[in-house]
C-alpha cells in the first residue's frame, strides 16, 4: 500500500499540469474528464488504501512513502514523505470523496464557463495541496500544502476576476490567512529551535521529554500553531475573510470553504495534540476561541440575506464547535464533527449553487421563495442538509457529532458549564437560522422565476451527499444510547481518548436539553419566518440595529479597517515617494547650491582673482604665524 500513497496527491497534480498546460485548447469534455476523473481516481485509491488500512493496521500505525529528500541543511532535514495514519485517513477520505463528488458536480456546473480549464486546474491543484497538507509527515511539507490550499483558495475566490470585488475578496482571504500562516511559520522556527526537528512524529515523541507542561515555550509554540489554525479555519478574530470568500463559484465554497480547507486548522491542532496537551492554557484558549466564534458567527448567520453568506457564517460557527471540542480535549468528537459537517455543508453549498444558478445568480434569500415545488430534488436534499446542520435528533448526522461536542464541553476534564452553555446557545441559533433559511427559500411565494432546472449530473452528487448527511452519523452513537463507536475507535489509534470529569450528571439529561433547544430553535424560526411575518418584526429600531450589527459580522471588518487598513494605507500613501530619497536629493541639491556659491567666485573679474591669490598667501602666512 505504501507505494500507492503518492498517487493520491499525484493524480490531481497530474490533472492540474495537464489542464494548465493544454487546458485552454482542450474541448470541454476532456477538461471535465481530466479534472473530475483524476480526483475520482484518487478517491478510489484512497478507498483502497482505507480498506487495506482497516483490514490490517500497519505496524507503526501508518503507511508512509518517502518520495525524495527535499532539502537537508545542517541539522535540518526535510523530506517529501507521505504518511497516512488513522487521522489522515479520515481527512483524505473526505477530501477525495467529497472532492470527487464536488468535481463531478462542477463538471456540469461550470460547463458554460469559458475558463472551465482554469477552474479545474485550480481545483485539482487544491485537492493535491490539501492532500499533501494532511499526508505530510513533517511540518514543512504540511506548510507547503497549507500555503498551497491558500493559493488555490485565492485563485478560486477570485475566479471571476473581472468583478473587482471578487479579486478584493480573494486578496482579503489570502492576506488574513497569511497572517495565520506566518504565525504558524514562526511556530515552526520555535519548534525547530527547541527540538531540532520538524518531523511530526518525532515532535510528538520528543515533546513530553523536552517541555514541561505549561512552560512558556510550549505555550508560545501552541499559541502560534493555534493562530495559524485560526487563520485557515476562520476563527475569531481572523474570521472575516470567509464570508467574503463566497465570491467564488459554489463548488469552491463547498469544497474549500466548507468541507476541507477551512478545517485545516482543526487538523493541525488534532495532529499536534501532543503539544497542545502539554499546554493547558492553550487548550483553554482553543476552547474559548471556538465557543466565542460559534456564537458570533451564528448570530451573524441569523441576519444575513445572501444564501451563501448564511452558509459561510454557519461554517465558521460549526468550525467553532470543532475548536471547542479540540479545546476541551474531545479530539475524536471534533474530528467526527468535521466528518459529518463536510457532508452536509458541502451539500448545502452545492444545493445553494443550484438554486442560485436556477434563479439567475440571485443570492438574496428574500428574493427567492417557494422553491419547494419547483425544485423538489433540491428541496429534499437541502432539507436533509439543513436538518443535519441544525442537528435534528437521531435522524441526522449532525446530531451525533454535535451532541458529542455538547456533552464533552461539559463533561470532559477541560469542559465547563459556561462552554456548554455557549455551545447550547449556538445550537439554538443554528436551528434558528437553518429554519429561517429553509422557510424563506423554499416556502412562501415565488419571487424570482426558476429559469432552469439542474442537470442530472448535479443532482446525483447532491443525493449522495444528502444520504451521507443523514447516515454518516450512525457509525458513532452516544455512549448511553448504543455502543457503537466505529469512528472514535478508528481515530483514537492516533488521538488520545477524552479525559472525563468525575461525578457527572446523566448524559440523557444533556441530550434532552439539547434536543429541546434545537426544536425550540426550529419552532421559533417557524413562528418568525413562516409566511410573511418574517420581515415585520425586524422593523423596531433596537432590533434593526442589532440586525445590522449582526449583518455586518459584528463590525469586525469596520474595526480592522479602522485599526489596520486605514493606518497602513495612510502610511504607504504618505511615504509613497520614499522619504529617504529626500535625503539624497537634499545632498544633491546642496551640491548644486555649493556649486552656485563657488561659481560666484568665477565672475570673470581679474581683481577678484588677485584677491584670491592674496587670500591664499594670507592663509599661508597666518598659518605660519599661528603655528
Amino acid at each position: 500500500m505504501n507505494s500507492l500513497l503518492a498517487y493520491i496527491p499525484a493524480l490531481p497534480l497530474l490533472g492540474f499540469i495537464i489542464l494548465s498546460l493544454f487546458g485552454r485548447r482542450s474541448p470541454k469534455p476532456v477538461i471535465a474528464w481530466v479534472g473530475a476523473g483524476t480526483v475520482c481516481l484518487a478517491a478510489l485509491i484512497t478507498i483502497a488504501v482505507g480498506v487495506a488500512f482497516m483490514q490490517s493496521t500497519p505496524a507503526n500505525g501508518a503507511y508512509s512513502q518517502l518520495l525524495w529528500s527535499w532539502f537537508r541543511v545542517g541539522a535540518l532535514s526535510v523530506d517529501i514523505n507521505l504518511r497516512v495514519d488513522a487521522l489522515t485517513l479520515v481527512f483524505i477520505f473526505i477530501i477525495t470523496f467529497v472532492g470527487a463528488l464536488i468535481h463531478i458536480y462542477s463538471a456540469f456546473f461550470m460547463w458554460h464557463d469559458r475558463d472551465m480549464a482554469r477552474f479545474f486546474a485550480s481545483m485539482n491543484l487544491f485537492v493535491c495541496s490539501m492532500l499533501l497538507l494532511v499526508m505530510a509527515d513533517n511540518l514543512v511539507l504540511l506548510y507547503l500544502g497549507w500555503e498551497g490550499v491558500g493559493l488555490c483558495s485565492y485563485l478560486l475566490i477570485g475566479f471571476w476576476y473581472e468583478v473587482p470585488s471578487n479579486s478584493r475578496a480573494a486578496n482579503k482571504a489570502f492576506l488574513i490567512t497569511r497572517i495565520g500562516d506566518t504565525a504558524l511559520l514562526i511556530g515552526l522556527f520555535l519548534l525547530f529551535k527547541e527540538l531540532g526537528t520538524l518531523n511530526m512524529n518525532a515532535i510528538q515523541q520528543q515533546a513530553p521529554q523536552h517541555f514541561t507542561t505549561g512552560s512558556a515555550d510550549i505555550v508560545l509554540i501552541t499559541v502560534l500553531l493555534l493562530v495559524g489554525g485560526m487563520g485557515k479555519s476562520a476563527q475569531m478574530p481572523l474570521q472575516t475573510w470567509l464570508p467574503d470568500a463566497m465570491a467564488g463559484p459554489s463548488p469552491v465554497s463547498a469544497l474549500i470553504h466548507a468541507a476541507t480547507m477551512v478545517t485545516a486548522g482543526v487538523y493541525l491542532i488534532a495532529r499536534m495534540h501532543g503539544l497542545f496537551l502539554l499546554s493547558p492554557v492553550t487548550m483553554a484558549i482553543v476552547a474559548i476561541v471556538g465557543a466565542v466564534t460559534l456564537l458570533v458567527a451564528g448570530c451573524s448567520a441569523l441576519a444575513q440575506t445572501d444564501i451563501k453568506r448564511i452558509l459561510a457564517y454557519s461554517t465558521i460557527s460549526q468550525i467553532g464547535y470543532m475548536f471547542l471540542a479540540l479545546g476541551v480535549g474531545a479530539w475524536s468528537a471534533a474530528i467526527f464533527h468535521f466528518f459529518t459537517h463536510a457532508f452536509f455543508k458541502a451539500l448545502l453549498f452545492l444545493a445553494a449553487g443550484v438554486v442560485i444558478e436556477a434563479l439567475h445568480h440571485e443570492h438574496n434569500i428574500f428574493r427567492m421563495g417557494g422553491l419547494r415545488k419547483r425544485m423538489p430534488e433540491v428541496f429534499i436534499t437541502f432539507l436533509a442538509g439543513a436538518a443535519a446542520l441544525s442537528a435534528l435528533p437521531l435522524v441526522t448526522a449532525g446530531f451525533f457529532s454535535k451532541d458529542a461536542i455538547l456533552w464533552y464541553s461539559w463533561s470532559s476534564a477541560g469542559g465547563t458549564s459556561v462552554l456548554w452553555f455557549m455551545a447550547l446557545v449556538g445550537a439554538f441559533i443554528t436551528a434558528l437560522y437553518s429554519t429561517r433559511l429553509m422557510l424563506v427559500v423554499f416556502w412562501g411565494e415565488m419571487r424570482t422565476p426558476v429559469h432552469q432546472q439542474p442537470d442530472r449530473g448535479m443532482v446525483i452528487p447532491l443525493i449522495i451527499l444528502a444520504f451521507f448527511s443523514i447516515t454518516a452519523g450512525f457509525i458513532e452513537w452516544p455512549h448511553n444510547m448504543l455502543h457503537l463507536s466505529l469512528f472514535s475507535d478508528h481515530v483514537q489509534q492516533v488521538l488520545p481518548a477524552t479525559v472525563m470529569k468525575r461525578d457527572l450528571p446523566s448524559e440523557w439529561l444533556f441530550q434532552a436539553i439539547a434536543t429541546v433547544i434545537t426544536l425550540t430553535g426550529v419552532y421559533i424560526g417557524y413562528m418568525l419566518y413562516y409566511g410573511k411575518s418574517g420581515v415585520r418584526w425586524q422593523q423596531s429600531p433596537p432590533l434593526a440595529a442589532t440586525r445590522d450589527f449582526f449583518f455586518s459580522g459584528w463590525k469586525f471588518d469596520q474595526l480592522y479597517n479602522f485599526l489596520f487598513v486605514k493606518p497602513f494605507l495612510f502610511l504607504t500613501r504618505v511615504n509613497k515617494s520614499d522619504v529617504i530619497d529626500k535625503l539624497y536629493n537634499g545632498i544633491a541639491q546642496a551640491g548644486l547650491r555649493l556649486n552656485g556659491w563657488f561659481s560666484v567666485s568665477q565672475n570673470g573679474s581679474l581683481r577678484l582673482y588677485i584677491v584670491g591669490v592674496l587670500a591664499g598667501i594670507l592663509f599661508i602666512i597666518t598659518l605660519q604665524l599661528l603655528l
Partner: protein, 478 residues
C-alpha cells in the same frame, strides 16, 4: 662644462634649436605645413636625443641643472604632450586666417621652459624656466588676438602670472637670504644643519603661491577656467599638460631636496590646499556647460589628487608620474576631440554641441568617452590605475583624511563626467553637423593619433605594470 654634461643636455639643445629653426624657416618663407612637419621631426629628434643620452644619466650640470631619471621622465612626458599638441595645432590654426607660423616658435619656447623646469636644481634655472614658459604662454593664449576672449584670457593670465612671479622671486630671495644658496640641495643641507627658520618658511609659502598658480591650486585657481576657455584649444591642452608637468616636476625636485614633507607647516598648508582643490574643483564643475571650463575645473580637482601623491613624499613620486602620464594622455585626447570639432568661428566648447555625437561620429565620441572615463578613474582606462596608485600611497602614508576626501570628491566628479557622457550618447539633434574635409592628411593623422591615445589609455588601464616598472627604474637614476 664637460662633454658628458653637454651630451646630457643634448635633448634640450635640440629643443632650443627647434625654436631657432622655426624662426629660420619663417625667414625663408616656408609654408605652415613645412614648419609643422619640421617641428614634428624636431620633436622626434628630441625624443631620439633622449634615447641617445639615456645611458649617461644621471648627470649634474652644476650649478643650474641636473639631468636624471626624474627629469627624463618628465621631459619625456612633456615632449610627448607637445607632439600631440603640435599635431592638433596644425588643423586648428590652418583653419583660421591668422598667421600660424610664429605660433610654433612660442610653442617650442614654452616647451623649452617646461623642459628646463624639469632639470633645474637651482632657483635661477627654476625662475628662468618658469618665466620662459609663462612669457611664451602669454602670447600663446592671446595668439588668436582677434577673438576678444583670447586677449582677455591673455591679460588675466599675464597679470596673475606676473604677480605670482613676484611672489616667487620674493620667496626665493627670502630663502636665499636665509640659507645663502640658491641650489636646492645646498638649501636642503643648510636647512638640515640649522633647522627651518621663519624666513625660510615664509619663502616656501611665497613659492607655493607661484607654484599653486601655475598648477591652478585653490585658491590660486580662479584664472584657470577663464584662460582655458579663452585660449585656443591646442594651447589649452598645452597649459593643462606641459606647463603643469614642468611646474610639478620642479616642485617635486625642490620638495625632495629641502625635505618639504617633514615640515609640519608645509604639509598642513598643502593638505588644506589639496582638500580645497578636490572639493572646489569638483563642485565648480558640477553644473558647467562649457567643456573647456569644465576641464579646467576638473584639472583643479586632479591636481588636488596629485597633491596627495606629492604629500606622500618619495613613495608618491612614481604614482605621481604615472598619474601625470595618464592625465596627460587623457586630456590630450579630450582636447584633441575639442580641436577636431572646433569650427572656424568658435571652439567646440559648448556641451550642447556634443549632443548625440556618438551617433554621428562614434569613433570620436568613443575617444572622448574613454577620456572622460579615464578622468573619472573608471577601470579599463588609465585613470583608474592612476587614481589607484595615488590612493595606495595615500593609504600607505596613513593620510586617511586625504584619501577619504579623494574618494568622496571623485564621486562628485562622476556626476559631471557622466553628464557629458550621457550628452554624447543622447539622441542627436535633427540637423546633422557637416564633416570637415580640409587637409585630409593631417586630419587623418590627428585622428589616428587620437585613436592611438585612446588605445594607450586602455592599455595603461589594463596593463599598467609595464609603465610602473619603467617609471620605477627611471626614478632610481638620480
Amino acid at each position: 662644462m664637460t662633454n658628458l654634461q653637454l651630451l646630457a643636455l643634448l635633448p634640450f639643445m635640440v629643443l632650443a634649436t627647434a625654436a631657432v629653426v622655426v624662426i629660420l624657416l619663417i625667414a625663408f618663407k616656408q609654408s605652415h605645413t613645412v614648419i609643422q612637419v619640421t617641428g614634428f621631426f624636431m620633436m622626434c629628434a628630441v625624443v631620439l636625443a633622449m634615447w641617445f643620452v639615456r645611458d649617461t644619466l644621471p648627470r649634474e650640470v652644476p650649478p643650474l641643472l641636473v639631468v636624471d631619471g626624474l627629469a627624463a621622465l618628465f621631459t619625456g612626458l612633456i615632449i610627448f604632450s607637445v607632439l600631440v599638441v603640435g599635431l592638433l595645432s596644425y588643423i586648428y590654426f590652418e583653419e583660421r586666417e591668422e598667421n600660424p607660423k610664429e605660433y610654433y616658435i612660442l610653442l617650442f619656447l614654452a616647451t623649452l621652459g617646461a623642459a628646463v623646469l624639469t632639470i633645474s636644481r637651482h632657483f635661477i634655472s627654476f625662475f628662468i624656466g618658469l618665466e620662459l614658459l609663462s612669457v611664451s604662454l602669454y602670447a600663446l593664449i592671446a595668439y588668436l588676438r582677434n577673438r576678444n576672449n583670447a586677449i582677455e584670457a591673455g591679460v588675466k593670465y599675464l597679470m596673475l602670472a606676473a604677480l605670482t612671479s613676484a611672489f616667487l622671486l620674493f620667496g626665493m630671495a627670502l630663502i636665499y637670504m636665509e640659507t645663502g644658496s640658491m641650489e636646492f640641495t645646498a638649501i636642503g643641507n643648510a636647512i638640515t644643519k640649522s633647522g627651518t627658520s621663519v624666513l625660510f618658511l615664509m619663502g616656501i609659502g611665497l613659492i607655493v603661491v607661484a607654484i599653486g598658480f601655475k598648477l591652478a591650486l585653490v585658491p590660486f585657481h580662479l584664472w584657470a577656467a577663464d584662460v582655458y576657455q579663452g585660449a585656443p584649444a591646442p594651447v589649452t591642452a598645452f597649459i593643462a599638460t606641459v606647463s603643469k608637468i614642468g611646474v610639478f616636476a620642479v616642485f617635486v625636485r625642490f620638495a625632495q631636496a629641502i625635505h618639504l614633507h617633514e615640515n609640519a607647516l608645509a604639509v598642513t598648508v598643502l593638505t588644506v590646499i589639496a582638500i580645497a582643490c578636490m572639493i572646489a574643483g569638483n563642485v565648480l564643475a558640477l553644473m558647467q556647460q562649457n567643456i573647456k571650463r569644465l576641464l579646467a575645473y576638473s584639472s583643479i580637482a586632479h591636481f588636488g589628487y596629485l597633491l596627495v601623491a606629492f604629500l606622500s613624499g618619495d613613495a608618491g613620486v612614481g604614482a605621481g608620474v604615472f598619474y601625470l602620464l595618464a592625465y596627460s594622455i587623457t586630456l590630450l585626447s579630450a582636447f584633441g576631440i575639442i580641436t577636431l570639432l572646433s569650427t572656424r568661428r568658435k571652439d567646440a566648447d559648448e556641451l550642447s554641441g556634443y549632443r548625440g555625437l556618438f551617433w554621428r561620429n562614434p569613433l570620436m565620441a568613443a575617444i572622448f568617452t574613454v577620456a572622460l572615463l579615464s578622468l573619472a578613474g573608471i577601470p579599463l582606462t588609465a585613470g583608474f590605475p592612476a587614481k589607484f596608485f595615488i590612493l595606495t600611497v595615500g593609504v600607505q602614508q596613513h593620510m586617511w583624511l586625504l584619501a577619504v576626501v579623494l574618494v568622496l570628491t571623485s564621486v562628485i566628479g562622476l556626476y559631471y563626467y557622466l553628464r557629458i557622457i550621457s550628452t554624447l550618447f543622447a539622441s542627436p539633434p535633427l540637423s546633422p553637423a557637416k564633416e570637415k574635409s580640409l587637409h585630409p592628411l593631417f586630419y587623418a593623422a590627428t585622428y589616428t593619433s587620437l585613436v592611438v591615445l585612446m588605445f594607450l589609455l586602455a592599455w595603461l588601464g589594463i596593463f599598467p605594470g609595464f609603465i610602473i616598472d619603467n617609471v620605477q627604474e627611471f626614478l632610481v637614476i638620480r
